[in-house]
Symmetry: C2
Subunit: 141 residues, 2 copies
């Protein structure tokens, strides 16, 4: 666990985010959950901390590219740790990154896929894109 904190401190430093005990706790919850989590879940997981500070922390983490939002139609907003390739200029994770929503267990996953299509929209320049997929996950099949 101690090792975990060392890793998280390094994460904050790399993203130029000031290290505080609150932020380490938020990071801890995020890193303990493999899948994207809701603000509500995060709030419940940090009962002794302030809700307003949590919102500000999340905003900072988003701005600095440490976490990303996962938006699935009909589902509440979720957040997840970015893969290491994210940075302040490009908040969108690796192109192989897909958000998958299982219509059976209602769980949301961040997945990596091998072959990513090239998407071309005539007369538009695409800086980044995300893919949201719905279906049945590995566990539910």
């Amino acid at each position: 666990m101690q090792h975990c904190y060392i890793y998280m401190k390094k994460l904050l430093k790399n993203k130029k985010i000031r290290e505080t005990s609150f932020r380490l706790e938020v990071l801890k919850v995020l890193s303990e959950n493999e899948n994207p989590i809701s603000m509500d879940y995060l709030e419940q997981s940090l009962p002794k901390f302030d809700r307003i500070t949590l919102y500000r922390t999340i905003k900072t983490f988003l701005d600095k590219g440490l976490i990303h939002e996962v938006l699935i139609a009909g589902e509440s907003k979720k957040i997840a740790l970015c893969s290491v390739e994210c940075n302040e200029e490009n908040h969108i994770h690796h192109l192989e990154h897909v958000h998958f929503f299982c219509e059976n267990c209602k769980e949301t996953f961040c997945l990596e896929i091998e072959k990513v299509p090239t998407i071309i929209i005539p007369n538009h320049s695409i800086n980044s894109f995300e893919i949201q997929a719905k279906g049945i996950c590995q566990n539910c099949k």
Copy 2:
């Protein structure tokens, strides 16, 4: 304009949604706006109508597959009319449908693209997917 109402009445009938003056007004605003609009904009556009009823109307339209949500990270939730192919079983519009957010003018667009990639996630079955792209739109280039 009269013709417009006839078309909208047909739309409601096709989706088995009871026709009311309120719903026709909501549909009118939606069809007058080519791009997805926010709930706030919709509310402002219907000043003499009730906010609660609007939320219920939108829920009904979503459930029946008449409209779809457009979620872009960092942007407020928007809604747009579905293409005619949508139905109650498959709320996700045509596969060629892409949500495009212009980072210059901050406008959101529903676009159709010609070549849609096949997305394969090992051990998962995909029922539908959406693509969210960010970049610079036609007008801003």
